[in-house]
């Protein structure tokens, strides 16, 4: 019996040992930071007042305060501008309240005609909070220069990616249009070119027919499987606009002065924006097929003349489209039979987030989600930098290599993200020169939101000075 007792003791010792403490590893968190949400605001965008937003790095768990110093050139506090809360001795003190994530200063413009040389700087000088640090966007400028930078979560529209979003970095503005709200883009530059909407996977092929009424459903039936995106036939790149964005390489040939040289085109209208909810992390881009049209485009002096009809129609509609040089394109919609507003004015955007028709060598045209193009028509240029060569934070204007700039609008393209891991590549960032010559560095932060849902890309950018 002694032996049994022995073993029981041994056994219990073993089990007690086994169930003893487990040591949890603890990771060190970043300090508590209060910072400006962005780096600057343009004076011209402020009518009477504006809010200067401050964010906390995490929810405040106690009360504290932050001090912000104002330095102004060519503007006088109390005379040209003031703030709420009021600055005392050029210092604003803002409370940090338990449970809050942000705070704001209201900037009031008292002098409607502030000078172009006016520069008002808000700088965080101290944060009274446990384990805090001053870092990130710790100062904020109000002046008349190009935006210094911020981070933007782009409203692509979630997993269906229903929007084309246009971002102007220097103005710090975004605008968007629904992807399937337009079909054709009539180029407003010198060339007479017409683009198709690659964001809904349109495709088009010239027919050997010069009378639009001659084309019928049956006469093009055999072409339908061919004139499409993603057919894995390398030759199908002829039916899409060149992904590089060169206006001289559109699927539809240059519109000729001679009507006899402008054939009828069979147009695959692509797909509506998807409506289904895919599994988390996936995208559901394409909805129902939008059908087919036959079109013929002619020239009337400096105007385009668009003839279009459904395949079996024996008559057609005709629209004359006049060039508007403020924009890259006049966008036309078959659904509304009219021009629609899609892009901002041609020099008022730099990059666009959109679904895109690209091509893969050997496999032909291929649809891409989460794509980023640049405003090639207004001369926006970009190039990619590997972090092995330069650190993003350290990269300055001196490091810019002008010979690397490329007009190819696929330069950023899909290279910024890895769809399989639903993450951004952290080993690269981009340099962009906008139509006004401002040079920015751009780093992509996310392809999904915090829930892991696709279609919520986020990036930050900074002006190189």
């Amino acid at each position: 019996m002694m032996k049994i007792k022995h073993t029981i003791i041994l056994f219990s010792a073993f089990i007690i040992l086994f169930n003893s403490c487990s040591e949890d590893e603890i990771l060190i968190s970043d300090p508590f930071v209060v910072a400006f949400e962005s780096l600057s605001k343009n004076l011209m965008d402020i009518e009477n007042e504006t809010s200067i937003d401050l964010v906390y790095s995490e929810m405040a768990l106690e009360n504290g305060s932050v001090s912000i110093q104002i330095k102004s050139e060519n503007a006088i506090y109390g005379q040209d501008f003031k703030t709420v809360p009021e600055a005392i001795g050029n210092i604003i003190t803002l409370p940090i309240l338990n449970g809050e994530l942000q705070n704001a200063i209201t900037f009031l413009k008292l002098n409607a005609n502030l000078f172009e040389t006016t520069n008002i700087e808000f700088g965080i000088t101290s944060i009274d909070y446990i384990n805090s640090n001053i870092q990130g966007y710790s100062n904020f400028l109000i002046n008349s220069s190009a935006a210094r930078g911020t981070s933007i979560q782009v409203e692509v529209g979630g997993p269906n990616q229903g929007n084309q979003v246009f971002v102007d970095l220097s103005m710090q503005t975004t605008s968007f249009a629904k992807r399937d709200s337009w079909d054709l883009g009539f180029y407003n530059g010198n060339d007479f070119r017409v683009a198709i909407n690659g964001s809904i996977y349109m495709a088009t092929k010239a027919l050997d027919v010069y009378n639009i009424n001659e084309v019928t459903e049956t006469s093009v039936e055999s072409l339908k499987t061919e004139v499409a995106v993603g057919t894995f036939n390398p030759d199908n790149v002829a039916y899409i606009d060149a992904p590089n964005g060169n206006i001289l390489e559109t699927a539809i040939a240059e519109i000729s002065d001679n009507d006899n040289e402008n054939p009828v085109y069979l147009v695959n209208l692509g797909y509506e924006v998807g409506t289904s909810t895919p599994t988390i992390g996936s995208a559901a881009i394409a909805g129902n097929h939008r059908g087919w049209k036959k079109i013929r485009i002619l020239k009337d002096g400096d105007n385009y003349v668009l003839q279009y009809a459904n395949l079996d129609d024996t008559t057609y509609q005709e629209k004359t489209i006049t060039k508007n040089t403020n924009y890259n394109f006049n966008h036309f919609s078959f659904n509304s039979n009219s021009l629609v507003n899609i892009e901002p004015e041609k020099e008022k955007w730099d990059i666009s987030f959109t679904v895109f028709t690209n091509f893969i060598d050997g496999a032909g045209s291929y649809g891409f989600s989460d794509y980023v193009t640049q405003n090639r028509k207004a001369n926006t240029q970009t190039y990619q930098v590997d972090t092995s060569a330069f650190d993003y934070d350290d990269f300055s204007l001196d490091n810019v290599n002008a010979s690397n700039f490329s007009l190819d609008q696929t330069t950023i393209g899909s290279n910024w993200r890895d769809v399989f891991s639903r993450s951004t590549f952290s080993d690269r960032f981009y340099i962009l020169k906008d139509p006004n010559g401002n040079i920015y560095k751009i780093k992509f932060l996310a392809i999904t939101n915090d829930n892991g849902e696709r279609g919520y890309p986020e990036f930050e950018y900074k002006l190189l000075q």
Partner: protein, 713 residues
């Protein structure tokens, strides 16, 4: 507390040496089992191995204990013709028998197929089969469609559990601590197993057991950093996913006269944690701070098995064996965002991932006609099976209804007879018809024969057929978007398997009857027709669809030999298998036979006065070739011979009992040759990434200690 490797060894050795030196000098209590092994699988009556017309390979309890293995995957990786490859990214274990994967053979527990989230009997994850209540494991190679129905093409593995005890009360508890390679800590590293089993004879007629087992595998970390790691350098998570299993089993056995009834309950819970390798730094540009996030997954597997069985005699001769079983396995997926630094789970979403439920009943009636020359068995088997797959688990279009449900009802009847033509020759023809709701009527045939030749030679020939039912993906998957058009095919037919095996056996003695020996040499042929493969049905626009198109063939020759000299046992086996795959689904494919050589051996030696057994197990898997589609220098697709390098498993264990077997310890080394992965060129790259260049097989040399306490009252 965390023990480092050195402390761990010191601890182990102290514990072990204490036990060694505390031994008493008791008399040899080991009674060498000389009784002929009795087998059950496919037999009309309990039958000795030698009398069976089938060739049945048996792994008995002692071998399981000698190796201190706890699940079927770990046990079978030393067997010839079976290859176990862990799937490190799902935590499941992949297995192939004669080069055919787990869809082609069936795992049975007490003659009843065991459920898995992807199949009934087939597709079983061998790591989910615990061996704590196993009496013996019977392996039959070759198609067993008549006896065991669909999917028993390359073979059947039947696990026979213990259902009685000679003691009034039996308490058995053990703890087992294993290192995973060199990794070991009390909680976060290594493998920790605890088990408690209580058996009791309530009356002479009623016996019951309750057992609990917990098997906590903390994963293989290698250079990875686990869950609490906030740097995005690809090191978060584990190389092999950690998983924890808990298994409760209850048995009630009632025996009265000619009848025996048992009810068995088995509940298994498994949790597999997948911590995302990618750390989303969640950078806040404004504050220049990070709040790193991981998109983590927790798979929760719950399996219930109820099995009610009755055996006995109707009248004087007809032996019945009827089982009814309800089983279900549900795999749920919990996805969540883990705020790594705050140890906080957010966005928790739970959903059913894969599940399967089945009601099964199987009955055999033997000796329906029973004469010296002729014995007839008839049986039925019915399976009502329903399965579910979520879009996360299988590819379905998001526009479809969000789930795929499948029902498969099959009603089978089968009959076979044993015809004794002379005392030398007996034959056993059999046939099965299966009526199902999804497919046309399926038939299976078998013909086995046994010749007893002179001088203890025995020749067995076994031919049989069986079909494989198409799986979920093959029937119902759907991936249609702008760039893809891949579709399942509800009109698929089951694949047709056929096998022929020849076994020549002899029992003999050597060295003046001092060495007892058994040798067997076998030849195998397996053919699977109408294999299902995804093929391009339209070039432009491209459409892919599953179709019955390919053929698989294998020829094998293998030999197994066992020798016993006093307390010394030695076993040696070798096999050479040639596999040819005719891929009509691909152009320019190659169908040459590709050879694979395997060798296995084990040595057991028992020192009687020490109550100590040494066991050494070795298996060598030769270089394996496989045709893979690759792009050649001219940029064209062609089939090339990909090669997976050879590797060997080598385990060493030492088992010792104390205090009249009340205490038992095992200590051992697994994977002595420290194999982790082998180089391979046998994979083709995916559409979006290159091929893997090595195949993970193990986690390196590991050590274990098992302490068992047995109390028999």
């Amino acid at each position: 507390m965390i023990l480092n490797k050195n402390y761990f060894f010191i601890y182990f050795s102290i514990l072990f040496s204490c036990l060694i030196f505390s031994q008493e000098t008791t008399k040899d209590s080991l009674t060498v089992e000389r009784l002929e092994q009795v087998i059950i699988t496919g037999q009309y009556n309990l039958q000795s191995v030698n009398k069976s017309v089938f060739e049945v390979k048996v792994i008995n309890r002692k071998e399981i204990e000698n190796r201190a293995v706890n699940n079927l995957a770990d046990l079978l990786n030393q067997s010839l013709n079976i290859n176990i490859t862990p799937n490190t990214s799902t935590g499941k274990s992949g297995v192939s028998l004669f080069g055919l994967d787990a869809q082609y053979f069936k795992i049975l527990i007490d003659n009843i197929p065991v459920i898995n989230e992807e199949g009934v009997g087939n597709n079983v994850d061998l790591t989910l089969i615990n061996l704590d209540d196993v009496q013996q494991i019977e392996i039959i190679e070759g198609a067993m469609g008549v006896q065991y129905g669909a999917n028993a093409i390359s073979g059947v593995i039947n696990i026979i559990t213990k259902k009685s005890s000679k003691y009034k009360t039996q308490i058995n508890a053990f703890v087992q601590e294993e290192t995973v390679g060199t990794e070991y800590e009390w909680f976060d590293k290594g493998r920790h197993i605890q088990s408690l089993k209580v058996g009791h004879n309530f009356t002479n007629e009623i016996y019951g057991t309750v057992s609990y087992l917990r098997n906590d595998f903390a994963g293989f970390w290698d250079n990875k950093q686990g869950k609490v790691y906030d740097i995005d350098d690809g090191l978060r998570g584990h190389v092999w996913l950690p998983k924890a299993q808990q298994n409760i089993k209850i048995l009630l056995n009632h025996k009265k006269g000619k009848h025996n009834v048992f009810y068995k309950f088995d509940y298994l819970n498994e949790r597999i944690n997948r911590y995302d390798t990618i750390v989303d730094l969640n950078h806040n540009s404004s504050t220049d701070t990070n709040d790193p996030l991981g998109s983590d997954r927790l798979f929760k597997n719950n399996r219930f098995i109820h099995h009610l069985n009755a055996t006995g005699y109707l009248g004087v001769q007809v032996r019945y064996n009827v089982s009814a079983s309800y089983q279900e396995q549900t795999k749920d997926l919990e996805t969540y965002t883990y705020r790594i630094r705050k140890d906080e789970k957010t966005n928790i979403e739970e959903s059913e991932y894969l599940s399967r439920r089945a009601f099964l009943s199987r009955g055999t009636f033997s000796n329906l006609i029973y004469t010296n020359k002729f014995n007839l068995q008839a049986g039925y088997e019915l399976t009502n099976e329903s399965g579910f797959g979520s879009p996360l688990a299988i590819t379905v279009s998001p526009d479809d209804e969000n789930t795929v449900k499948q029902r498969l009802d099959s009603y089978d009847v089968f009959a076979s007879s044993e015809i004794t033509i002379s005392d030398k020759l007996s034959l056993r023809p059999g046939v099965r018809v299966s009526f199902t709701n999804l497919f046309e009527n399926q038939y299976a045939f078998s013909l086995s024969s046994k010749f007893n030749l002179k001088n203890n030679w025995q020749l067995k020939g076994v031919v049989g057929s069986a079909n494989r039912t198409p799986n979920y993906n093959e029937l119902y998957s759907r991936l249609v978007d702008i760039n893809h058009n891949v579709q399942g095919n509800p009109n698929l037919n089951p694949e047709q398997g056929f096998s022929a095996f020849v076994h020549l056996k002899k029992k003999y003695t050597l060295a003046n009857d001092k060495i007892k020996a058994k040798s067997r040499i076998s030849g195998s042929y397996i053919n699977v027709k109408n294999r299902i493969e995804l093929i391009i049905v339209n070039i432009s626009p491209r459409e892919d669809k599953y179709n019955n198109i390919d053929t698989y063939k294998s020829f094998g020759v293998f030999s197994e030999n066992a020798f016993q000299y006093n307390q010394f046992r030695f076993q040696l086996g070798a096999s050479l298998l040639g596999i040819s795959k005719v891929l009509n689904s691909e152009t320019n494919s190659e169908d040459d036979f590709l050879l694979n050589f395997q060798l296995n051996s084990n040595i057991n030696y028992t020192i009687p006065n020490w109550n100590t057994t040494f066991a050494l197990n070795f298996k060598h898997v030769g270089k394996e070739q496989q045709f893979v589609q690759k792009t050649n220098e001219e940029g064209n697709q062609e089939f090339q011979r990909g090669v997976t390098d050879a590797f060997s498993w080598f385990d060493l264990t030492l088992r010792k009992t104390f205090l009249d077997k009340r205490i038992e310890t095992s200590i051992g080394i697994r994977n002595l040759l420290d194999v982790t992965s082998v180089n391979t060129t046998a994979f083709s790259g995916g559409a979006h990434n290159g091929p893997p260049t090595n195949l993970l097989l193990g986690y390196g040399r590991s050590y274990f200690l098992k302490l068992t306490y047995n109390l028999n009252l």
